[in-house]
C-alpha cells in the first residue's frame, strides 16, 4: 500500500484524501485504523482533519495516545514521509513530531474559507514540485489553528528553514489581513528537522480539482508520490 490514511474516531477528512488519491491521482491507498499497531506497509502517511477523539481536551492530546502512534513515530523517525493537515497537524505537534502548538483562533471562532499560502521552503518531499514563493489558493477549516512556538523554537525553525507555508495575500505578501487565525508570523505549515514530516492547517485535499475552485493542493500530493518513488524500497 502506498498511501496510508490514518483514521481516528472523530476524523472526517479521510474520505476526501481517499477521494483525491483514488479518483484524482489514481494512486494506491488504504486506511489505517488507530487501534492497529502496524502501518500495513504504508510508504507514506497522511493524518487527516477532524476532531480525533472529539478533541474536547486540547486538540490532538488524546490522539497521540492511540495505539497506532508508536508506529507513526517510528516511521517518521526513520524518515518516512508524513503529512498532517488540520487536526493531523495538531496531532503531530502533540506527538512531539513537530515543534510548537496550535491555539484557539484569535477571533475565538471557527473559520472556514479560502486563503492563500506562500511556499517558504521547497526542501521537503511535499513541496519539491512547487516553485519558490509559489502562492497556493487553498481552504482552511478550523477553530484552533493559530500556530505558536517559544522564541527559541521559532528561531530554530527559521535557522533550519522549517517554515514551509505562510498565510499571504493572493500576490504573495505576508500581511496581518491575510492571516486568518492570528498565527505567529503567519505560519501555516512547518516541517521537522528531518524535513520528512509536514504539518499544515490548510486542506490540500480540498484544493485538488478545478470544479471546487483550485488545483493548487495537488502539488503536495505529487511531491509526496515522487518522494516515495525515489525512496529505496
Amino acid at each position: 500500500m502506498k498511501c496510508g490514511i490514518l483514521l481516528f474516531p472523530g476524523t472526517w477528512s479521510h474520505q476526501d484524501f481517499a477521494h483525491v488519491c483514488q479518483d484524482v491521482l489514481g494512486c494506491d491507498w488504504g486506511y489505517v485504523w488507530h487501534k492497529e499497531t502496524s502501518l500495513r506497509g504504508s510508504d507514506c502517511l497522511i493524518l487527516p482533519g477532524g476532531f480525533a477523539h472529539g478533541d474536547y481536551l486540547r486538540c490532538g492530546a488524546i490522539a497521540r495516545f492511540s495505539p497506532i502512534m508508536d508506529a507513526v513515530v517510528r516511521f517518521a523517525r526513520e524518515g518516512g514521509p508524513v503529512m498532517g493537515s488540520c487536526n493531523g497537524f495538531q496531532i503531530l505537534c502533540e506527538a512531539g513530531l513537530l515543534p510548537g502548538a496550535l491555539l484557539r483562533n484569535t477571533s475565538l471562532q471557527y473559520r472556514c474559507g479560502w486563503v492563500h499560502i506562500r511556499t517558504e521552503s521547497l526542501e521537503t518531499p511535499f513541496t519539491r514540485a512547487l516553485t519558490p514563493a509559489q502562492v497556493l489558493k487553498i481552504p482552511i477549516s478550523h477553530g484552533e489553528g493559530r500556530y505558536h512556538a517559544a522564541p527559541e523554537t521559532l528561531a530554530r525553525l527559521k535557522a533550519n528553514d522549517q517554515i514551509v507555508f505562510r498565510y499571504a495575500t493572493p500576490d504573495g505578501r505576508i500581511t496581518d489581513q491575510a492571516n486568518p487565525n492570528g498565527a505567529l508570523e503567519n505560519i501555516a505549515g512547518i516541517c521537522n528537522e528531518g524535513r520528512n514530516v509536514l504539518g499544515l492547517m490548510p486542506h490540500p485535499e480540498r484544493a485538488a480539482e478545478a470544479i471546487l475552485g483550485s488545483e493548487d493542493g495537488l502539488g503536495l500530493f505529487r511531491g509526496m508520490l515522487d518522494a516515495i518513488a525515489a525512496r529505496p524500497a
Binding site: D55, Y110, A208
Partner: protein
C-alpha cells in the same frame, strides 16, 4: 424524582392532557394508566409528536411523484436521483430549546436531524440552517444569535457534516421566540434504504449510544407550550449534545448497514425511548418488550418514568436478526459505543415495558403511536387582517436620496452579506461544494456521477403574516426559483412550519391558509412534500410570531457543469429580466426599513407565470447561454442588481440599467415581486434567450449592460448611481457591524 401514588386531575393537567384525551387513554387501556403510562401518553400525544392539530391540513399536501421512494411517515423522505442513488432529507425545528439555551438548543437540533438521515442508511452530506432572530440591536437577541450560530458550528463542524447554506432574517416578531430550523440531506444507494420498523418475533432490540440521563425530560411537551415569564428556568429540559459520539454512531451504523443484520432502526429523538419503541412496533405491526433494568443509565435512582421520557442525545434503537447479535456488537465495540440488548420483538402488538421482573407499562403500540387525538380546531380570519393589509402608498413620501435608500437596504441584516455567519461553518467537507453559501442556492456535485444537487431554504414570515395563502405560495415559489437559478430542476421539498398556538382560531386560520398555498405551489412545480415538521406554540407572553413556513427545496442538475451563480461574470454582458415588474410596496423590506411599516398585501404569485419563468431560465442555462442568474427578492430590483454586481468572489462589476415606466421610483426600484429573474448573458446570446422567453409567453426585457465601476439605474424621473465598491463595503459589513 418520586413516583406520585395517585393519578389526580392536577397531575393529568400538568401533563398537558385534556379530560377528553384522558378518557381515550382509559378506553385504550381498559383501565386507569399508571404514572409511567401517563407520561408516555403525554409525550406521544403532545402536539410535537402527534401533529394532532395539523394532521388534517398536512394531508392536503402532495406527497407522491415518480421519483419519490419514501414520503412522509418515516424518519425522512427519500427521492430517487438516478444512477442507483437516492437522497434522504428532512428539516426540523429546534425553536423552543434554542431560546432557553441557544448554544445547546441549536447544537442538539443539528444532532437530531442528522440522526434522522443516517438512520435511513444515508451518509449525511449537507446541512442548511434557516434562522430567525429578534433585532440584533437588542442585547438578548444578539446573545441568542451568537449562541445559535456557535452551537450549529460547534456541533456541525465537529460531527463532520458541512453546513452549505441557510438563511437569516431578523424581525421584532422573533425577539421572544427565535426560530432555529435545520435541514439535513444524505445520500445512499437506493436499494439500501433502512426503515424504522420492527419485525420478526423474537428478534433482539438493541440500544446503542450515550447513556440515559435525566436531561430533556418532557422536551417534546415543552415544545408544545408557549413561553411565559421564567421560561429560562426550563433549562434542564434542554439536552447537551456530544458531536463526537454522534460521529461514532454515524460511522458504526453506516458500517453495520453495509451488511444485512438490521431489521429496523430508529433514533431516539423527541420522547426518546418511548417514541422509538412504540413507533417501530406500530409501523412493523408487531409488539415490543423492553427491560429498563438493562438500559445504560448515567445517573442512579432514575425511575421508569424518567428513563422512558429522557431525551438524552446520541442514542439509537435497532432491531436485528436473531443470531446476528455478535457481529453487530463487534462493530459497535470497534467504535467504542455502548450497545446492549434491552428487549425483543413480540407478536401481541403491545409496547411492554418492564423494570426487571416488574411490568411498568403495557400499552397497545399502534393506539399510542397512530391513534392519538386528531383535532379539527376552529379557524377564524382575524378581524384585524383587513387593517393589516391596508396600505395607502400615496401617503408615503418618495425619498429623495434613492442611493441612500439602496445603501440602507444593503446594510439591513436581512439583505447584508451573511458571511459572518457561514464562515463559522465548515461548508466544504466531502469535496462536493461547487457553489458555496452566498448565491441563490448551494450546489453540491454527486461524486461518481455527472449530476449535482441544488439546495435552498426560503420562507417570508412578513408575507405570510400579511397574507398566509400567498406567503405559503411564496415560500415554495422562491425556493424553487433559487434552485432553478442555480441550474437545477426542482425535485422535492421538506418543510418546517413555525406558527403560534393552534388553540387560537386566527393562528389555525393562518396555518390552514399557508398550507393551502404551499399545496397549490407544490402541485404547480411538481415538487412533492417528502416530510417535515410542524412547530406550534411559538409565542411569548401571548404574542405569536409571524407565521413562518420554511421550505427546503432540493433540485437536481443532470450535468454539474450547468451550475450557475448569481453574480455578473464579465463586462459587456447584457442584463435581461425574465418576468413582469409590478411595482407594489406591500410587505417589502423597503417599507419596513425606510418607513417602519409591515403592512399591505405581499406581491401575488401567479403560479403559471412563475413556472414558465423558471422553465425559460432553466432552458437557457442548460443551453449554455447564461453567465449569471439571480432572482429578484428582498429589497426588489435595485437590491437584486446590486447583488449581481458585487456578491461574487472576484472584483465587483458595475452595471448601467434603464427602467422605463411611470411607476413611482421607490416602488420601481425597491418594490418586491414574484416570478422575476435577472440574467447576465453574452451579447450574442441575448436574442436566443429572448426567443425562448417569447416561445413560453414570458416577458423578457433588456435592462442594460454590465459595465463600468458604478451601478447606475436611470428611470423617467430619477437617476441613481453608486460606486459598486461602496455598495460592496456597506453590504459586506452590515451584519458584522451588528453582531459585533
Amino acid at each position: 424524582m418520586r413516583e406520585p401514588r395517585q393519578i389526580t386531575p392536577d397531575l393529568i393537567a400538568q401533563h398537558g392532557i385534556t379530560p377528553e384525551e384522558y378518557q381515550r387513554i382509559r378506553e385504550i387501556l381498559g383501565r386507569e394508566p399508571n404514572f409511567t403510562e401517563l407520561g408516555i401518553f403525554s409525550v406521544m400525544w403532545s402536539e410535537h409528536c402527534s401533529y394532532k392539530s395539523s394532521r388534517v391540513y398536512l394531508k392536503s399536501l402532495p406527497t407522491q411523484g415518480p421519483c419519490i421512494l419514501q414520503g412522509p411517515g418515516e424518519n425522512a423522505g427519500v427521492v430517487d436521483i438516478g444512477e442507483g442513488l437516492a437522497i434522504v432529507f428532512k428539516m426540523e425545528s429546534h425553536n423552543h430549546p434554542s431560546f432557553i439555551e441557544p448554544h445547546q438548543g441549536a447544537a442538539t437540533g443539528v444532532g437530531g436531524i442528522i440522526r434522522d438521515i443516517f438512520t435511513m442508511g444515508a451518509r449525511p452530506i449537507a446541512l442548511l440552517d434557516p434562522l430567525r432572530f429578534g433585532p440584533l440591536t437588542d442585547v438578548k437577541s444578539r446573545f441568542v444569535a451568537a449562541g445559535v450560530v456557535g452551537g450549529i458550528a460547534g456541533y456541525g463542524n465537529a460531527v463532520g457534516v458541512p453546513t452549505v447554506g441557510g438563511e437569516l432574517h431578523v424581525s421584532e416578531t422573533y425577539a421572544g421566540n427565535p426560530l432555529v430550523n435545520v435541514l439535513c440531506l444524505g445520500i445512499a444507494p437506493k436499494d439500501r434504504i433502512f426503515l424504522a420498523r420492527a419485525g420478526g418475533v423474537g428478534n433482539p432490540v438493541i440500544y446503542v449510544g450515550a447513556k440515559t440521563g435525566r436531561d430533556g425530560i418532557h422536551g417534546a411537551t415543552m415544545a408544545s407550550e408557549t413561553f411565559s415569564e421564567g421560561s429560562e428556568e426550563r433549562r434542564p429540559t434542554v439536552q447537551v449534545g456530544d458531536p463526537f459520539r454522534e460521529k461514532l454512531l454515524i460511522e458504526a451504523c453506516l458500517e453495520l448497514m453495509t451488511g444485512d443484520a438490521i431489521v429496523g432502526i430508529q433514533d431516539m429523538g423527541a420522547a426518546g425511548l418511548t417514541c422509538s419503541t412504540c413507533e417501530m412496533a406500530s409501523r412493523g405491526g408487531t409488539g415490543i418488550e423492553i427491560d429498563l433494568a438493562k438500559v445504560p443509565l448515567r445517573e442512579t435512582g432514575m425511575i421508569p418514568y424518567e428513563v422512558m421520557l429522557s431525551e438524552s442525545q446520541e442514542r439509537m434503537l435497532l432491531v436485528v436478526h436473531q443470531g446476528r447479535e455478535t457481529e453487530v456488537m463487534r462493530i459497535f465495540e470497534k467504535w467504542d459505543l455502548d450497545a446492549v440488548i434491552i428487549g425483543r420483538v413480540t407478536d401481541d402488538g403491545l409496547m411492554r415495558v418492564k423494570d426487571g421482573e416488574r411490568a411498568v407499562a403495557e400499552i397497545p403500540a399502534r393506539a399510542l403511536a397512530e391513534e392519538g387525538p386528531v383535532y379539527h380546531r376552529p379557524l377564524e380570519r382575524p378581524a384585524s387582517q383587513d387593517e393589516t393589509q391596508r396600505l395607502d402608498p400615496s401617503r408615503l413620501p418618495v425619498p429623495r436620496a434613492l442611493d441612500c435608500v439602496l445603501l440602507d437596504l444593503l446594510a439591513s441584516p436581512n439583505i447584508a452579506c451573511k458571511r459572518p455567519v457561514w464562515q463559522q461553518y465548515d461548508h466544504m467537507l466531502f469535496c462536493n461544494t461547487v457553489v458555496p453559501p452566498g448565491s441563490d442556492a448551494a450546489v453540491l456535485r454527486v461524486q461518481g456521477t455527472r449530476k449535482g444537487l441544488a439546495l435552498a431554504a426560503d420562507g417570508n414570515g412578513r408575507y405570510t403574516y400579511l397574507d398566509p395563502y400567498e406567503g405559503g405560495k411564496h415560500a415554495v415559489a422562491e425556493a424553487a426559483r433559487n434552485v432553478v437559478c442555480a441550474g437545477a430542476q426542482p425535485l422535492a421539498v421538506t418543510n418546517c412550519l413555525n406558527f403560534g398556538s393552534p388553540e387560537r382560531p386566527e393562528i389555525m386560520w393562518q396555518f390552514a391558509e399557508a398550507v393551502r398555498g404551499m399545496a397549490d405551489a407544490c402541485r404547480t412545480f411538481e415538487t412533492p412534500v417528502t416530510g417535515g415538521n410542524v412547530s406550534f406554540y411559538n409565542e411569548t407572553l401571548g404574542t405569536p410570531i409571524f407565521p413562518t413556513p420554511i421550505i427546503g427545496m432540493v433540485g437536481l442538475l443532470d450535468d454539474i457543469r450547468h451550475a450557475t451563480t448569481q453574480w455578473f461574470k464579465q463586462a459587456g454582458d447584457v442584463i435581461l429580466l425574465l418576468g413582469e415588474r409590478h411595482g407594489e410596496l406591500g410587505g417589502s423590506e423597503y417599507l419596513k426599513v425606510i418607513h417602519g411599516l409591515e403592512a399591505g398585501l405581499p406581491p401575488r404569485v401567479d403560479l403559471a407565470l412563475e413556472r414558465a419563468v423558471q422553465q425559460v431560465c432553466l432552458q437557457a442555462i442548460r443551453a449554455g447561454l447564461v453567465g449569471s442568474a439571480h432572482d429578484v427578492s428582498d429589497g426588489g430590483l435595485a437590491v437584486a442588481l446590486a447583488e449581481c454586481c458585487m456578491t461574487g468572489p472576484g472584483a465587483a462589476l458595475g452595471a448601467t440599467v434603464t427602467l422605463d415606466g411611470t411607476i413611482r421610483p421607490d416602488a420601481l426600484l425597491f418594490g418586491e415581486v414574484a416570478s422575476c429573474i435577472l440574467l447576465g448573458v453574452r451579447p450574442e446570446a441575448a436574442a436566443e434567450v429572448q426567443a425562448m422567453a417569447q416561445a413560453q409567453g414570458v416577458p423578457c426585457t433588456v435592462l442594460g449592460r454590465v459595465e463600468g465601476a458604478d451601478l447606475t439605474i436611470c428611470g423617467n424621473d430619477f437617476n441613481l448611481s453608486v460606486p459598486v465598491t461602496r455598495l460592496q463595503e456597506t453590504w459586506a459589513t452590515g451584519l458584522s457591524r451588528l453582531l459585533g
